[in-house]
Amino acid sequence: MKKLTKLVALLMVLVMAVAMLQGCKKDDKDEDKDVATTTTEAAVETETPVETATEEVPDTAVYDAIEDGAVLTVWESGGVDGEFIKEAATQFTEKYGVQVTYEEVGHTETVGKIILDGPAGVGADVYAAPHDKLGEVVANGLALENDIAGFAEKFSEVGIKAGTVDGKNYSYPLQFETYALFYNKDLVATPPTTWDEVIAFAETYNDTANNKFACMWEAGNAYYGFAFLSAAGPLFGAEGTDKNVVLTDTPEAVEAMKYYQTLRTKVYDVPAADTTYDAMMAAFTEGKAAMTLNGPWAIKDCVNAGLNFGIVPFPKLQNGATPLTFSGIRVLHVSAYTKYPNAAKAFAYFCTVDLAQTRYELTGGVPVLKDIEIADEYQAAIAAAGDNAVPMPSIPAMNAYWTVMGGIYTNIWNGNDVEAEMNAATTALKSQIE
């Protein structure tokens, strides 16, 4: 009897050990199957391939260099952005015989994922990312340089500048976004062009007890906050690459922030922690807030709410200074770990240049490629607001800006002494940037 118990125990342990080893074994077969199913899936989904750029023969040099037997994996968010990649993958496979697999990875998460997956050899060959991750991308060496001749001339300057570090372009820009002033046409007859006008409007409109505010935005968010600080100039120098220009140590910055502080009492008298995006969207779509600071991502929600609204550029600051708004560019990167760099580059080029019109029609994202016609009123307004936009600096020092300034804008908004806060900001930024 005892022997039997031992035998059973031994058997169980063996089964466990085998199961453990099985788990460790890499399953190659499954992966192959994955590629096959995704491509067929993509093929079924698009019955009528959109004809694009057929008259204008693209630079064939990019496509001539594609390696034989190349297979690509692409990471992009789900939704319309993913639909576009599926569409592009089908067309690319049709034209150049390269199998492209699309995997859904949120575009803000791709960089964090490629850091681990790239060296392990399981990462994507091409991945989408917001351009401001570029500092991280270059610091970690995650992307190959975009060395395609004549690439930059095809795009608007802001798009190329956003993808460049030390004169080297690492990106293939897809679309553009920046924030602007959304206003309710039923409440605001003529949209304000300066913040003084907003303050004047607030004097008659605001009713704090009933949550009626002239203009609402996330007051402690360093993304919007920068536009107010920008009276002191662009962050990190004109090119956004000089880490020593932190702005906060100038008298202009103190001036600008003092003006920002007055907006608390005059326009939107709510502590920063309570100025949430949800509260803002609810008030704006209900018609309680006359204006908000928001970006193209909110257009759909506002349209769906049946709101009669318009979009104008960010109002001018005190003394008529033109604000600079942060802009974000969605880009594709070619992974530094790809086995087929030429095919990957060709696919990124295909998506951003050949299929730019298709992408705009499919996703509605404001394109960066020149000569694309924007039909939609709101998207055109965002594109126009882009005239005063600067790409969010993507140098590593930007990380310090986000960390430090979120707290600083909050503290200033909550009534702390501006000079003391700006001194604290300068010390903190400098200590982080070194």
Binding site: A139, L144, E145, N211, P271, A273, D274, A400, G407, Q432
Partner: protein
Amino acid sequence: MNKAKKAGICSTLFMGLGQITVNKEYMKGIIFAVIEIVALLNFKFFTSGIRGLATLGRVTGYPVEEVAKSDHSIRLLIVGIMSSILLGIIVISYIFNILDAIHSGKKLDRGFSLPNFKRFMKDFWDKAFPYIMMAPALILVVFFVLMPIIFGIALAFTNYGFPNNLPQKNLVSWVGFGNISKIVKLPMWNNAFVGIFSWTVIWAVLATFTCFSGGLLVALLLNSKFVKYKKFWRTIFILPYSVPGLISLLVWSNMLNGQFGPINMTLKQFGIIDTYFGVLKTNIGWLSDPLTARITVILVNLWLGFPYFMALLTGIMTSISEEMYEAAEIDGATNIQKFRFITLPMVIIATTPLIIMSFSANFNNFGAIYFLTQGGPSGTYNPAVNAGATDILITWIYKLTIDKQMYNIAALMSLIIFIIIGGFSFYNFKNTKAFKDDEF
């Protein structure tokens, strides 16, 4: 020279040699020899592993095109730890091999004969059966529990972090106690660490205490014979526990919005908050005022956490013998005395281990803080350390790793938490009655 000495020396020279040449235990000797041969064949794995562990890589990944060929410090660290563990196992079997040779030699010296291999294996099998059965689990523990812990501890002594020490483009290197001295010496980090640490302890104590006493109070009420419809009340009270905490917390964070949240709006409608006539002149900054926000997180956590203790304590109270209360009544004890001397000691003894576990869980209660306030409001600490008034260590670690990629500082914090929680739990478990009776 006697056989014990000879066999010992031979086995020191090469594993299994003593067994084969002196003691004539061929099978055993061959097994030992095979272990050494395998180890020697993989000599490079161990040397490069140890070297990688010591240097954390030498070839940088610059320019970008060269990245794939360069050293990845963090992978070197992991491989290094792995090879050290394997090397440790080999060293242990090497020592065992020498001891075994001497042991057998001594037996021969005294004139005993050695058991043959079959016999030896049978004895070994009988004696070591539990260990053999536990081996797979032990291997799992070593590689899936011990290794990550060692890895985490090792990170605390490197400079792995943004912006200059991220692999694979850059190398990570050992900095010894550099991170610790940074926390101790730099006032900015020092302030934040002391502040967040003490708040974490206060939070953990208060969160556990409020949930326990809240649960106890409700359980007592439910147990009282004056309460009607007990099942109905119990169902109502257990509800917060049955909704996923994440959802409740996100709802709470909207409800507690100082300007637009329904709670303050209701207070306003009742005239409690009114600029001129109200009891309160301004909105309550549930999430925007540092002190109020700290009270808020404790209250919301009470709402989330009391049902657990209520259910637990109701169960324990029903198991307390009715006779004790009857005897107490005969002795003339009041209700308060009955509670003080019968109910309370009984439930405390039964729940002490759970209270300790609840304390440890609250010490690391990420969700209750992060989903409610994201650690805010800011303004309590230096803006450079990325922490707010309600941040506890674990949420701070999360922000440092996810937002700032400061893995080294975060690893150091984890190490501190590990030491505190580990030490505290160990001490308490050892001194808890409910565990003392156990063999453990």
